[in-house]
Symmetry: C2
Subunit: 159 residues, 2 copies
């Protein structure tokens, strides 16, 4: 299982905005990201899970420097789309395992999540792509997370 992971990456410059209680109807994601694009705010990660009773949350991450501006931009959109509120967290980091073909071989996510669990690190958000599993965690745990993931996947630190 360790073999397909070729690197661990981290980003400690992570802040998140969660638009809470967005109506799950067409045009809502578009409204949120149009506003951010017009304000020229770069977005790193976007996470939206499935809705329940046609309501869901939409989270995006920005650099810590952009958080105040993003919240200002989003505030009127919250009202216009009928979302409940907008929350933010500026004390986050992301850690990722990077590799090819991880989806075809079960066990990589399990191994990553177990390593974080055993180090007492709570997983705040999860997002994945074909070559990457990313966990957003508390920024104070980023160093520990990178270390335990290197060990779990048998990589030299600096890989």
């Amino acid at each position: 299982v360790a073999k397909k992971v070729r690197g661990i990456s981290q980003d400690v410059n992570v802040a998140k905005v969660t638009v809470v209680g967005v109506p799950d109807r067409t045009g809502v994601a578009s409204a949120i990201f149009d506003a951010l694009a017009r304000a020229n705010i770069s977005i790193d990660t976007i996470v939206q899970n499935a809705s329940i009773n046609r309501i869901t949350d939409l989270t995006f991450t920005v650099t810590k420097n952009d958080l105040t501006k993003a919240m200002k931009v989003i505030d009127p959109v919250v009202k216009s789309i009928g979302a409940r509120e907008c929350t933010s967290d500026s004390k986050l980091a992301s850690v990722s395992i990077i590799g090819a073909g991880m989806q075809s071989v079960p066990g990589y996510a399990a191994k990553m999540f177990r390593a974080l669990y055993e180090a007492g690190i709570n997983i705040e958000l999860i997002t994945t792509s074909e070559i990457r599993i990313t966990c957003i965690i508390d920024e104070s745990k980023a160093g520990d997370a990178v270390r335990v993931l290197h060990r779990a996947f048998e990589l030299e630190q600096g890989a």
Copy 2:
């Protein structure tokens, strides 16, 4: 804005499982994915948004053929971790825009979401990586989605 997107991909063999109301404490994600790995189930996408009042949902996608098995495997885990329930949807597809450096230039997510909105396609889940923005949608809309995204990003179909 169109220039950084070099391709549109789709996957119509998508089914999702959502573990609803999972307690947001360490070890929960690990328990879910340990069970799936032991059953040798390949996981495509994982989505977990931020918790509210220490409760969140965790969604993962599998092939449509693996859905029944995944639900069987997850059922006892739902109880053991104290989640509320487990739901599934076998009628999904994913569409992605693929490109390099999209995060450094605002507007790609906005353009993708607007194209889907204008085509009347609801976005069920969103997940991203550095090179990819993925929307999970109703499987019946996959063809339309691919077509409107090619047009929005000025790509020849087949790109």
